[in-house]
């Protein structure tokens, strides 16, 4: 379904990004006032955009199952509250998630390619990707080799993403740039461009293991990269900020950025995701507050 992309840019050239102005633009967007119906709509939309995530060394089959149940019914006493987009787990838990989520319409996403550092031979990474897809993953969240990127070996990154994309087969590919390690917005823009031209379906900010994880300026630069890619090719790439988005207020600010940068076509779970775990409960709390006029105690929301 994807068009052939011609005219691949020269990645040794830098698309300049002015950090001061990016921050200023974000600050201005953050003054948008979201009230009443438009707030409720956005809270529910944000809920549907969540990749509910558990990526801990201490993960267990029980924990993954619980998370899947939460994904399907975030708040059991209200059927109106939408389910999330996907559950994101380590490769070894893909099968359990797949089975638990059967028939729910919720995707299983798996991190792969030696998440989070990416330090492994390409062959090993590709094997891991194929393993995840065979286990039933619908979406693969890969990490790029930041070491090679920072070295200036951009063609390595391009080839790496392209190879992983091929190994994904039917699965969707999200490319994690780990922007906290790329540091400059020029680098963020460059890594975004490389990932998109090499075949990413989504570009994603962070693993969540490095601080800072997702930030608004970084996300805005990536959204603008997606826009330029769309202007040139007509292909719509998705965006996933991940890590550090814990409350509804922040989530709504991200939605404002998407709305005013890319427009309505990106305002759905096929094109925009939040990589988050605790965000779901805060959204629930706000939705119930909008409905009832009062805040419920955190004890009324399941912690998974």
């Amino acid at each position: 379904m994807k068009k052939e992309i011609s005219n691949i840019p020269d990645f040794t050239k830098t698309v300049p990004i002015d950090q001061v102005n990016v921050e200023e633009r974000v600050a201005k967007l953050n003054t948008r006032s979201i009230k009443k119906e438009s707030k409720m709509f956005a809270l529910k939309l944000a809920m549907q955009m969540i990749d509910l995530t558990t990526l801990e060394g201490s993960d267990s089959p029980g924990r993954v199952k619980q998370l899947c149940h939460k994904a399907m019914r975030p708040y059991s006493s209200d059927a109106d509250i939408p389910k999330v987009a996907a559950v994101c787990v380590y490769p070894t838990y893909v099968r359990i998630a797949r089975e638990t989520l059967k028939g729910s319409g919720i995707n299983v996403a798996s991190v792969a390619t030696s998440f989070p550092s990416g330090w492994a031979p390409l062959k090993t990474k590709l094997e891991e990707v194929r393993y995840c897809v065979e286990e039933g993953a619908d979406e693969i969240d890969m990490v790029i080799s930041r070491g090679e990127f920072l070295k200036g070996n951009f063609s390595y990154i391009f080839d790496e993403v392209a190879a992983v994309k091929e190994a994904c087969g039917p699965a969707h590919l999200k490319v994690i740039l780990e922007t906290g390690e790329l540091q400059t917005l020029d680098n963020v823009r460059k890594a975004s461009d490389i990932a998109m031209y090499a075949g990413a379906d989504f570009i994603k900010t962070s693993t969540g293991k490095i601080s800072p994880a997702a930030t608004q300026p970084v996300t805005l630069v990536m959204l603008e990269a997606i826009r330029d890619f769309y202007y040139k090719t007509g292909v719509k790439i998705g965006m996933k900020p991940a890590g550090g988005i814990r409350d509804s207020k922040t989530a709504l600010r991200y939605l404002v950025m998407v709305r005013e940068t890319l427009g309505n076509d990106w305002m759905n779970p096929d094109m925009f995701r939040f990589g988050a775990s605790s965000l779901a409960n805060d959204l629930l709390m706000q939705i119930i507050k909008q409905q009832t006029g009062v805040y419920q105690s955190a004890d009324y929301f399941s912690k998974d």
């Binding site: 300049p16 990004i17 006032s33 009443k36 707030k39 826009r227 709305r259 005013e260």
Partner: protein, 492 residues
């Protein structure tokens, strides 16, 4: 991508889906009187001839208050009060004490910031986001800044003995009513002068609220006087025999008139007049940020900004890309109720100004310009104008030569730095300019080549009380702000 590739333009959908609900700023907390007299000698007084005019809300066309028409007699009373205050109190007061009053005014503006912001938006039509985040905080900052200079004038001009001039007559425009009052009053008071100020006839309210602050601050009577009215009132100030200094911000035509009127009178003069600034985008500029700079340059305050970046010059290789981004960006600008916290572009200040802007758009079209406007709907009541881009224009076009003072941007392309410098300077104005490039050396080359008083690099429409502001050529004389802003109010 090859420039000659005639590719399909992929468009973005900003028209459907999620939209923001109205988020109007409350007006419960403001207090406006039905009728305002002049503020002379520390009191609100009825106009001598008893005449009033209406000030309206340009977003609703509803009347806000009746405002006194200033006659020669009113101006004379105000000047007499100012002269007395100068002779008896203000020029004799220790400078540090003068500074204390100015600090107090600054703090009181901060305390009542919300009220000032709402009234500014109601009376002038500017979006509450701007009056709240720009006008009012900057006005307070100006008073704070000049309060600090009051007792340090000898250090500002070492080896000199700076002395005040006497009574300053000040006339300000309608685009930044409170801020312009602050720009005028703060340095005048800090240097020991007293003031007679006339706000613009369409936007007198925040000045009259400022008068209330002067009262509450206990500022000695007559140090600051406000006389309201239109051009005749302004002329009475300009031509008054006992005024030592005229400071005017407004149109170049009126500026020339003032300069003629006071020739030979010995009055000192500061003029801050019109502009037609070039905003220059090089192909190596950070384009997405430059687009924001273009938007801020021309659509800030509905384009009612003398230093607005109203002439856009884009290097040819990126002209299409910039135009596409700008066109999409226009669609996300929210035009409407100035009091809505989400509004980006508010109401045009007056019907007269709206007609003027529309006539310029007409002129542009007749000259063969290609027009791009936002598809947004605009309120049926009130004075509104869609953000507008005009392409296919040249140096010979009237829309390129003349100041429109509205949300209308002309777009031209260029190939070389010399070419764009020549075009940028090919205007009678010289107030401001902007350059966007990733290359530092290009910034220095371009900004030293543009004949303008204020130049921005990779930003636009940034103001700070520490930075002098003023024009070259027909954009005026004298500087406001910074150390330079003290000089027009001093004998040294």
């Amino acid at each position: 991508m090859n420039v000659t590739d005639q590719q399909k333009r992929y468009t973005l959908d900003f028209g459907t889906g999620w939209a923001y609900d109205p988020a109007p700023e409350s007006t419960d907390h403001i207090s406006l009187k039905k009728k305002y007299g002049h503020f002379i000698n520390g009191k609100f007084v009825e106009p001598a001839e008893g005449n009033y005019f209406e000030t309206i809300n340009p977003a609703t066309e509803e009347k806000l208050a009746d405002i006194a028409v200033g006659s020669k007699a009113d101006v004379d009373a105000a000047v007499k009060a100012a002269r007395k205050a100068y002779d008896k109190v203000w020029s004799k007061m220790p400078a540090s004490e003068r500074g204390r009053y100015i600090y107090r005014i600054a703090r009181m503006i901060q305390e009542r910031a919300r009220e000032f912001a709402v009234i500014e938006s109601m009376d002038g039509g500017k979006p509450i986001r701007e009056s709240r985040d720009v006008d009012v905080p900057l006005a307070a900052a100006h008073f704070f800044y000049y309060a600090g200079w009051a007792d340090k004038l000898n250090y500002a001009f070492p080896g000199r003995t700076p002395a005040p001039l006497g009574v300053a007559g000040q006339i300000i425009p309608w685009n930044f009513p409170l801020l312009m009052a602050a720009w005028k009053i703060a340095p005048a008071l800090a240097t020991g002068n007293t003031v007679v100020l006339k706000p613009a006839e369409t936007t007198p309210l925040t000045c009259l609220k400022l008068a209330e602050i002067m009262q509450e601050a206990g500022l000695p009577d007559g140090v600051v006087n406000f006389v309201t009215g239109a051009g005749d009132t302004g002329a009475a100030i300009v031509n008054h025999q006992d005024i030592n200094k005229i400071a005017f911000t407004g149109s170049t035509a009126v500026g020339k008139l003032i300069q003629r009127s006071i020739a030979g009178s010995g009055k000192k003069l500061t003029l801050e007049l019109g502009g037609k600034a070039a905003n220059i985008i090089f192909e190596d500029a950070p384009l997405d940020q430059a687009v924001e700079g273009i938007v801020n340059g021309i659509f800030f305050n509905q384009g009612h900004v003398c230093c607005a970046g109203s002439r856009l010059f884009v290097q040819e290789g990126v002209a299409d890309a910039v135009h596409q981004k700008l066109t999409d960006r226009l669609e996300t600008l929210i035009v409407g109720d100035p009091l809505d916290k989400n509004t980006d572009i508010g109401a045009i200040n007056s019907k007269e100004q709206l007609d003027r802007i529309n006539s310029y758009i007409e002129i542009g079209l007749n000259e063969g310009a290609a027009i791009t406007q936002s598809s947004c709907s605009i309120p049926s009541k009130g004075y509104f104008c869609r953000p507008t881009l005009l392409q296919n224009v040249s140096q010979a076009s009237r829309v390129v030569q003349e100041e429109i003072f509205g949300p209308v941007l002309t777009i031209q392309t260029f190939r070389t730095p010399d070419e764009v410098l020549e075009k940028a300077n090919n205007t009678p104005y010289g107030l401001s300019g902007g350059v966007w490039t990733d290359k530092g050396s290009k910034i220095f080359r371009m900004t030293s080549g543009i004949d303008a008083g204020v130049l921005w690099a990779n930003t636009f429409n940034k103001f700070d009380p520490t930075s002098p502001f003023g024009g070259y050529k027909e954009s005026g004389m004298g500087r406001e702000g910074g150390l330079h802003g003290l000089l027009p109010y001093l004998k040294i």
